[in-house]
C-alpha cells in the first residue's frame, strides 16, 4: 500500500463499503447510522405513542376499568421512559446529529466511526429490554423510578435499569465521539464562530451527554445492585436514603432536559434564516446562550425535589438558578423572532413547524418559570400541571423541532421532497390537536388532579374526555406523516442538491450525499448565514455552488 498524501485527517477517502451487511446493517457511515436511528426510534415512537393512547382510553371515564391500576402504572412508566430515552434523545442526537453535523462541518465522517456503530447497536437491545419488561411486570414508578417503589416493584424494573444503562452508555459514547469530531475535524477555515448553529447545539449537547449521562449510568447501576444484592443504598430503614436516588437521578436528568431540547434549538436556528432569506439575528448570542444553558443546567437539579423535604436554604438558590435558565433561553427566542422580523418569510412546512415550536415551547418555558418558584411548585407538584408543562417542552418543543427538521432535511436524506400540502395539513392538525390535548391539563392540574392515577374524581370528567379525544386526533395526525414519507419514496419530487436555497455545507453536495460526502474538502471563508452575499466556500463542486446560489424552490 503506497503512502497516501494527507492534508487533513478527514481527507482520506475510504473504499466504498461492499455487501448488504456492511452497507446497511453494520455500517460505519454516519448517514446510514442516522437513518438506522430514525427508523428504530420511529418504531419506538409508535409503540410509546400507542401506550399514550391507551392511557387516554383509560382516562376517558372517571372510574374506567380498561386497565387495572397496576397495568396503568406500567403503561405510563414505559411510555415516559421510552419517549425520553428511546425517541427524543436518539432521534435528535443519533438521528439529526449523525445525519447533519458531520456534513455541516465539512467532514467525511465522525471521529470514531466504529464507536458510532457501537452506540447505535446498543440502542435496539435497550428498546427490546424496556418493552420486554412487560413480560416480567414492567416498572411502575414512572420514568423517574423513585424508590421505594422501584426497589420493591416487579423484576421488570431490573430490565428497565439494564435498558436505560445501555442507552446511557450509548449516549455517552455518542457525546464523546461528536465532541471530538466537532473540535478536531472541521473543514479548513471553519472557525468556531463560522460553525452553523446546529453544530453549536450539537457540541453543547455532546458535552452534556458525556458528562451527565455517566452519572445516570451509575445511578442505574446502583439501583440494579440494590435490587439484586439487597444492599441498603436507597433503603431508609437500613440507613439509606430514597432522596439520594432523587439527587443522583436529577443531576443527570435535568441536563438531559437540555440534551432533549438543544438540538431542536439548533434545527430551528438552521431553518429560520433559510426560510426568511436573511442572516440570523444574534448568531453569537444564540451560540453562546447554548453554552450558558448547559453550564446552568448542572446547578438546578433540586428544583425537581422541592417537595422532598430539602432544607429551605437549599431551595432558594435552586429556585433562583432555575429562573436564570429563562434568560439564555429568552435570548434565543427573541433572536429567532427578530430573525423573522422583516424577512421574506416562506411559509413552507419546516417553517410552520418552527413557528409551532416557538409558540408552544415558549408557553412551556413560561410554565417552567412558574414551576421554579417554590410556593407555586409545592401546589403544582405531582399534578397534571407538571404533565402539561413537560409535554409542552418535550412534545411542543422537541418533537415539533424533530418534525421541522424531518421536513427540512428529508430531501437531503432521501433525495426526494416530502409533499408540501400534506405537510401543511399535518402541521395544522398536529398543532391544534396538540394544544387541545395538553392545554386543558394545566387547568386540571391547577384544580388539583394528581398525575399518575388510573381513576379520578368525576368533577374532572368533561375536560378529560376532551383531552382524550384530542389525543386520538393527535395520534392520528402522525399517520399523515407516515403516509407522506412512504408516498415521497415513490412519487416525491426529486430534490436536487439544494431545494431550499440554503447556505450551510450539507446543501453543497448531492442529495443523498455520496458515502464520502465531499470530493474535495471545502475551504470555509466566512459564516454560513450571509444571505445576499456570494457563498463562503472554496473547493466545493462548482456545479453545486451554482445550484445553491439559485434556489430551485
Amino acid at each position: 500500500m503506497a503512502t497516501i498524501e494527507l492534508a487533513h485527517p478527514a481527507s482520506h477517502i475510504h473504499p466504498a463499503p461492499e455487501g448488504f451487511v456492511r452497507k446497511y446493517i453494520f455500517s460505519l457511515d454516519h448517514k446510514v447510522i442516522a437513518v438506522q436511528y430514525f427508523i428504530t426510534s420511529g418504531l419506538f415512537f409508535v409503540l410509546a405513542g400507542l401506550l399514550a393512547e391507551l392511557i387516554r382510553v383509560q382516562l376517558m371515564q372517571p372510574n374506567n376499568t380498561v386497565l387495572d391500576p397496576a397495568t396503568f402504572n406500567e403503561a405510563f412508566s414505559v411510555h415516559g421512559s421510552a419517549m425520553v430515552w428511546l425517541v427524543v434523545i436518539p432521534i435528535l442526537t443519533g438521528g439529526f446529529g449523525n445525519l447533519i453535523m458531520p456534513l455541516q462541518i465539512g467532514a467525511r465522517d465522525v471521529a470514531f466511526p466504529w464507536l458510532n456503530m457501537l452506540s447505535f447497536w446498543l440502542f435496539p437491545p435497550a428498546g427490546i429490554l424496556l418493552f420486554g419488561s412487560f413480560l416480567l411486570g414492567a416498572p411502575q414508578a414512572g420514568w423517574t423510578e423513585y424508590p421505594p417503589i422501584s426497589v420493591l416493584a416487579s423484576p421488570g424494573t431490573s430490565m428497565w435499569c439494564a435498558a436505560i444503562f445501555l442507552i446511557g452508555v450509548s449516549s455517552t459514547i455518542t457525546g464523546l465521539n461528536f465532541l471530538v469530531t466537532i473540535i478536531k475535524m472541521r473543514a479548513p477555515g471553519m472557525t468556531w464562530t463560522r460553525m452553523p448553529l446546529f453544530v453549536w447545539a450539537s457540541a453543547v449537547t455532546a458535552f452534556l451527554n458525556f458528562i451527565a449521562t455517566a452519572n445516570l449510568s451509575i445511578s442505574l447501576a446502583v439501583l440494579f445492585i440494590q435490587r439484586t444484592f439487597h444492599v441498603p443504598f436507597y433503603d431508609e430503614t437500613r440507613g439509606g436514603s430514597p432522596v439520594l436516588w432523587q439527587h443522583m437521578f436529577w443531576f443527570y436528568s435535568h441536563p438531559a432536559v437540555y440534551i432533549m431540547i438543544l438540538p431542536a434549538f439548533g434545527i430551528v436556528s438552521e431553518i429560520i434564516p433559510t426560510m426568511v432569506r436573511r442572516p440570523i439575528f444574534g448568531y453569537k448570542a444564540i451560540a453562546y446562550s447554548s453554552v450558558a444553558i448547559a453550564l446552568v443546567s448542572f446547578m438546578v437539579w433540586a428544583h425537581h425535589m422541592f417537595t422532598s423535604g430539602l432544607a429551605q436554604w437549599i431551595q432558594l438558590p435552586f429556585m433562583i438558578m432555575t429562573m436564570i435558565v429563562a434568560i439564555p433561553t429568552g435570548v434565543k427566542v427573541f433572536s429567532w423572532v427578530a430573525s423573522l422580523w422583516g424577512g421574506r418569510i416562506r411559509f413552507t412546512s419546516p417553517l410552520l413547524f418552527v413557528l409551532g415550536f416557538l409558540s408552544t415551547f415558549t408557553f412551556g418555558g413560561i410554565t417552567g418559570v412558574m414551576l421554579a418558584s417554590v410556593p407555586a411548585d409545592v401546589h403544582e407538584h405531582g399534578t397534571y400541571f407538571i404533565v402539561a408543562h413537560l409535554h409542552y417542552v418535550l412534545f411542543g418543543g422537541s418533537m415539533f423541532g424533530v418534525f421541522a427538521g424531518l421536513y427540512y432535511w428529508w430531501p437531503k436524506m432521501t433525495g426526494r421532497m416530502l409533499d408540501e400540502r400534506l405537510g401543511k395539513i399535518h402541521f395544522w392538525l398536529m398543532f391544534v390537536a396538540f394544544n387541545c390535548t395538553f392545554l386543558p391539563m394545566h387547568w386540571l392540574g391547577l384544580l388539583g388532579m394528581p398525575r399518575r392515577v388510573a381513576t379520578y374524581d368525576p368533577i374532572y370528567w368533561h375536560t378529560n374526555l376532551f383531552v382524550s379525544i384530542s389525543a386520538f386526533v393527535l395520534g392520528a395526525s402522525m399517520l399523515l406523516f407516515a403516509y407522506n414519507a412512504i408516498h415521497s419514496a415513490r412519487y416525491g419530487k426529486r430534490a436536487g442538491p439544494n431545494p431550499w436555497g440554503a447556505r450551510t455545507l450539507e446543501w453543497m453536495i448531492p442529495s443523498p450525499p455520496p458515502y464520502y460526502n465531499f470530493k474535495e474538502l471545502p475551504v470555509v471563508l466566512s459564516g454560513p448565514y450571509d444571505y445576499g452575499k456570494p457563498l463562503p466556500y472554496r473547493d466545493v463542486d462548482p456545479d453545486m455552488i451554482e445550484a445553491a446560489a439559485m434556489p430551485a424552490y
Binding site: 494527507l6 485527517p9 458525556f210 452519572n215 440507613g239 439520594l244 443522583m248
Partner: protein, 196 residues
C-alpha cells in the same frame, strides 16, 4: 490497523493521534464522573447517618490496604519507567517494566479479593450503607484495575508483534493514562474508606 497506521505520513499520524487522545481524555472525564457520583452517594449517606461507621461495623484494617496501595502506586512507577523505555527505544526496559506493572496490578486485585472474602464480614457489611458503598466503590475500582491489566497485556502483545514504534505508540499512551487514572482514583478511595 497496524499496516494502515504505518502508511500514514507523520503529520497525518499526529492528527490521528490527537483525535484519539482527545477522545480518550473525554472517556477518562466521563469515567471520573462515574466515580464522582458514587463518591457523592457515599458522602451523602455518611452525612445522613447519625454515627459513622454504622453501629456494629468496624473500619477495615488499614495495614493490608496500605500494603496494597504501595503495590498499586509502585505499578504506576514501573509503568512510567516502561514508557520512558519505549520513548528511548529501549525494548528490554519496556518489556521488563510493563511485565512488572502487570504483575503488580494482578497482585493488587488479588489482595483486594483476599480482603473482601477473608478479612471482612461480607454479609454483615452488605446490610449497611457503609459496606454497600465500600463494596460498590472498591469493586468498581477493582474492575477498572482488572480491565487495566487486560489492557496492558494487550499492548504488551501488540508491542512484541511490532505494532508500536518509538514515535508511534498511541495505544501505549492510552494504557499509561488509564493506569495513572486508576491510581489517582485509588488515592481518593483509600482516603475515604481507610483514613477519613
Amino acid at each position: 490497523m497496524a499496516s494502515h497506521a504505518l502508511t500514514l505520513d507523520d503529520r497525518a499520524y499526529a492528527e490521528q493521534r490527537d483525535i484519539r487522545l482527545l477522545g480518550f481524555l473525554f472517556f477518562l472525564i466521563s469515567d471520573s464522573i462515574f466515580f464522582g457520583s458514587l463518591i457523592f452517594a457515599y458522602l451523602y449517606l455518611r452525612n445522613a447517618a447519625p454515627v459513622w461507621p454504622p453501629p456494629g461495623i468496624e473500619r477495615p484494617d488499614v495495614y493490608l490496604a496500605a500494603v496494597n496501595s504501595i503495590v498499586l502506586f509502585g505499578s504506576g512507577v514501573t509503568m512510567h519507567v516502561a514508557m520512558e523505555g519505549m520513548r528511548r527505544d529501549r525494548r528490554g526496559q519496556f518489556v521488563g517494566f510493563i511485565v512488572a506493572t502487570i504483575v503488580l496490578g494482578t497482585l493488587f486485585v488479588s489482595g483486594q479479593i483476599y480482603e473482601y472474602w477473608h478479612i471482612l464480614p461480607v454479609t454483615k457489611w452488605a446490610a449497611t450503607t457503609f459496606g454497600a458503598s465500600f463494596y460498590t466503590l472498591t469493586g468498581m475500582h477493582g474492575f477498572h484495575v482488572s480491565v487495566g491489566v487486560i489492557f496492558l497485556i494487550t499492548v504488551l502483545i501488540q508491542t512484541l508483534r511490532g505494532t508500536y514504534t518509538k514515535d508511534r505508540h498511541f495505544g501505549l499512551t492510552a494504557a499509561t493514562l488509564y493506569w495513572h487514572f486508576v491510581d489517582i482514583i485509588w488515592v481518593a478511595l483509600f482516603f475515604l474508606f481507610y483514613v477519613y
